[in-house]
């Protein structure tokens, strides 16, 4: 009898004996257990359940194909993940001050949040910007705002992430222009611009033009960065917003990877070689509450990406196959009730991201269901990461959960289920078509509604919300964005418009329009335009004029 057979036999007699006896005294709390995505959780897994595993092919070694154990050979033994707290509110002066504060307190990379008008391609003085200036991120309309935003920050030393999508070409152009003013050439700039427009139509819903021209702008950025900015990530393929809109972990994984494959296919169609651009692609995952499922998601993501890039898209360079990712704890898991509980949720989620092998992490602050975080709460969130990195000891070994029967089972099941979705999307004609037809949007809407019903029926427990409730919430300090922000931004914008060369503005906007219409890469013309202080809104107006404003049918 082989070792595995002996284990299987022992397992059988355990079921008939010890287990049966225990269940008689105390049955399982539920008839069936499952992950939040609905993957069944068996009561016991042993080496006998892993009989079909091919270790080298499926799991392998860190830094080697299929990267299940991590993209680097040394992982956190070599270097901790980047601690990157997303920040942006009020005026560029306010955010510049917060950046400097965070860098002084040990943050190792910048991450910029822009306000809603900037994300939608409107200036502070547009009628649709009423009430929104500087509220959910920093207000920017022109290069002058970027000059203030990054004043005194060594752009040759820090890496900067910018969360902006529909208007990303403008933000990237402004960053390049401000760096040049600092004397840092674009080739030396390190960082990421989110620019994942597909997930905007799927989940976050900040768009300007319809999906196809919007994807073309993303490919322009990929092409431009591949050529001129080797250290820059021109797109951060994001599951975060998909998850926050209600997707399960499996759906997040599937739709996000499908978006990624969409960009790969469009870049290849543009004439780029896969190994020229694919190393610049990076990812961004949400980390929710189901601890083991989240860890498995990171591992499955790396394996699917590696296999598809190699087998389907013909990548030869290992860097094209290794999935590198940022992660953020789940904003949607935070509760307004008993807000201090959010610190505990965030800690567990952060630990899952680290055990899943993330390259970069944002931890949410406890007050973020109410407002953007205060300085005190964001410091506590950063300290959460530092305690994990420097005190818990989990950084001392690479992929510590590999070989856990359960984690490997979950990794396999997550991969299998995500692949089924990806195949379905391919059969629909690819992700752009699926998005136009509203397929991921509907799946996510259904999951969100199911989740809400489970919470309301009590089937899904949220501590402090539907169980262990207290009458009074803890009063916590809240960051207020004052109306003075709008006034300051309107004044600065007006003064920029007065002092710029009107003829140059007109001429450079016309150049952006020509590039847009002629199918030329728009980046060089947009860089020229921002340098002449054309506004973000003016440049996006060109896109609206050329391709039309996108409107979604109001379905629910």
């Amino acid at each position: 009898m082989s070792g595995l057979e002996a284990i299987a036999q022992a397992q059988q007699s355990w079921r008939a004996g010890a287990l049966a006896g225990s269940l008689k005294k105390l049955p399982h709390r539920r008839a069936q257990f499952a992950t939040d995505s609905g993957i069944p959780i068996p009561d016991l897994l042993t080496p006998a359940d892993r009989a079909g595993e091919n270790y080298l092919a499926d799991i392998g070694l860190p830094g080697q194909f299929p990267y299940t154990r991590g993209p680097q050979a040394t992982m956190y033994r070599g270097r901790h993940w980047t601690m990157r707290q997303f920040a942006g509110f009020g005026t560029p002066e306010d955010t510049n001050k917060r950046f400097k504060y965070l860098l002084e307190h040990g943050m190792t990379g910048l991450s910029t949040a822009f306000d809603m008008p900037a994300l939608m391609g409107y200036d502070a003085d547009h009628p649709l910007s009423r009430g929104e200036v500087g509220k959910e991120g920093v207000a920017v309309s022109t290069l002058r705002d970027f000059e203030v935003l990054f004043d005194g920050i060594p752009l040759d030393q820090v890496t900067t992430s910018m969360t902006i999508n529909a208007s990303a070409v403008v933000a990237l152009a402004m960053y390049i222009a401000v760096a040049e003013e600092h004397g840092t050439p674009r080739a030396a700039l390190g960082g990421t611009i989110q620019a994942d427009i597909l997930k905007e139509y799927i989940a976050q819903k900040e768009w300007i033009v319809p999906p196809r021209p919007a994807v073309r702008l993303v490919i322009d950025m990929i092409e431009f960065c591949t050529r001129e900015m080797p250290k820059w990530h021109p797109v951060s393929i994001s599951g975060y917003h998909i998850r926050e809109a209600g997707a399960t972990a499996v759906q997040e994984l599937a739709f996000t990877l499908a978006d990624g494959f969409g960009y790969v296919e469009e870049s290849i169609a543009r004439g780029m070689a896969v190994d020229d651009f694919a190393p610049g692609l990076s990812f961004f995952w949400d980390v929710h509450n189901d601890f083991f499922e989240e860890i498995a998601k990171f591992r499955a993501a790396r394996r699917i990406w590696a296999r598809e890039m190699k087998d389907r898209y013909g990548a030869k360079d290992p860097r094209s196959m290794m999935l590198k990712t940022h992660a953020q704890t789940a904003g949607v898991s935070l509760t307004a009730q008993q807000p201090y509980n959010n610190v505990i949720r965030t800690s567990l989620q952060a630990l899952a991201a680290v055990l899943g092998g993330t390259q970069s992490l944002h931890t949410n602050s406890l007050d973020e269901t109410y407002a953007l975080p205060t300085e005190e709460s964001v410091t506590l969130a950063l300290r959460t990461q530092q305690v994990i990195a420097y005190e818990s000891g989990v950084d001392r070994v690479v992929d510590p959960l590999a070989g856990s029967y359960f984690i490997e089972y979950l990794t396999d099941e997550t991969e299998k289920r995500a692949r089924a979705y990806i195949e379905k999307i391919r059969a629909m004609g690819g992700i752009i078509r699926a998005v136009e037809e509203g397929f991921p949007q509907r799946e996510i809407g259904d999951s969100a509604y199911r989740h809400q019903r489970e919470v309301e029926s009590g089937e899904r427990v949220i501590v402090g919300v539907n169980k262990f409730k207290t009458a009074q919430g803890a009063a916590i300090p809240i960051l207020k964005i004052e109306e003075v922000v709008t006034r300051a931004q309107l004044e600065r914008l007006a003064s920029v418009k007065r002092s710029r060369n009107a003829a140059a503005v007109k001429e450079r906007l016309a150049a952006v329009e020509r590039a847009s219409r002629d199918g030329k890469n728009v980046m060089p013309s947009v860089i020229d335009a921002v340098k002449a202080y054309c506004t973000l809104g003016e440049i996006c107006d060109v896109f609206r004029a050329v391709w039309g404003q996108f409107r979604e049918a109001g379905s629910y």
Binding site: P117, E132, A336, V465, G554, Y556
Partner: protein, 133 residues
């Protein structure tokens, strides 16, 4: 047959966080109301016009961007301008207590904050939104 009460679920402003609005729309539909959803990025004018054209009895506004103190009163003013100020306005989102007090003073009937259950909202709409004729 009695006419169902008609509710417009609307998203004013630029934020795209429509998870809540869509859940409320589905819950109100399941709760027996006729529900019209505006879709995203609506101006106060667009919302008021839709309310009049669709002849609704109530408007539920969902907002997550912090612009509620500007946009909620704007919707009220637009409705008044169109002579539809007997439409019941309620709302939900991330809205601090002090702002809720102020918005109620200005004519918003009710504000629901994070953690409010859909059942609670459906019940409230049943009790407080009357057919306009």
């Amino acid at each position: 047959m009695e006419r169902k009460i008609r509710i417009l679920v609307a998203k004013p402003g630029l934020d795209g966080h429509d998870r809540g609005a869509k859940i409320i729309a589905r819950a109100l539909r399941d709760g027996g109301f006729e529900v019209i959803y505006t879709g995203l990025h609506q101006t106060p004018e667009m919302i008021a016009n839709a309310a009049v054209q669709e002849d609704v009895d109530g408007v539920g506004l969902s907002i997550m961007s912090g612009a509620h103190m500007t946009l909620f009163p704007d919707v009220l003013n637009e409705l008044k301008r169109l002579g539809a100020d007997n439409v019941t306005i309620f709302g939900g989102g991330i809205i601090p207590d002090e702002d809720i007090t102020e918005l109620k003073k200005r004519g918003v009937a009710q504000i629901f904050t994070p953690g409010a259950s859909t059942q609670e909202i459906v019940r409230w709409v049943h009790e407080h939104v009357q057919p306009r004729r």
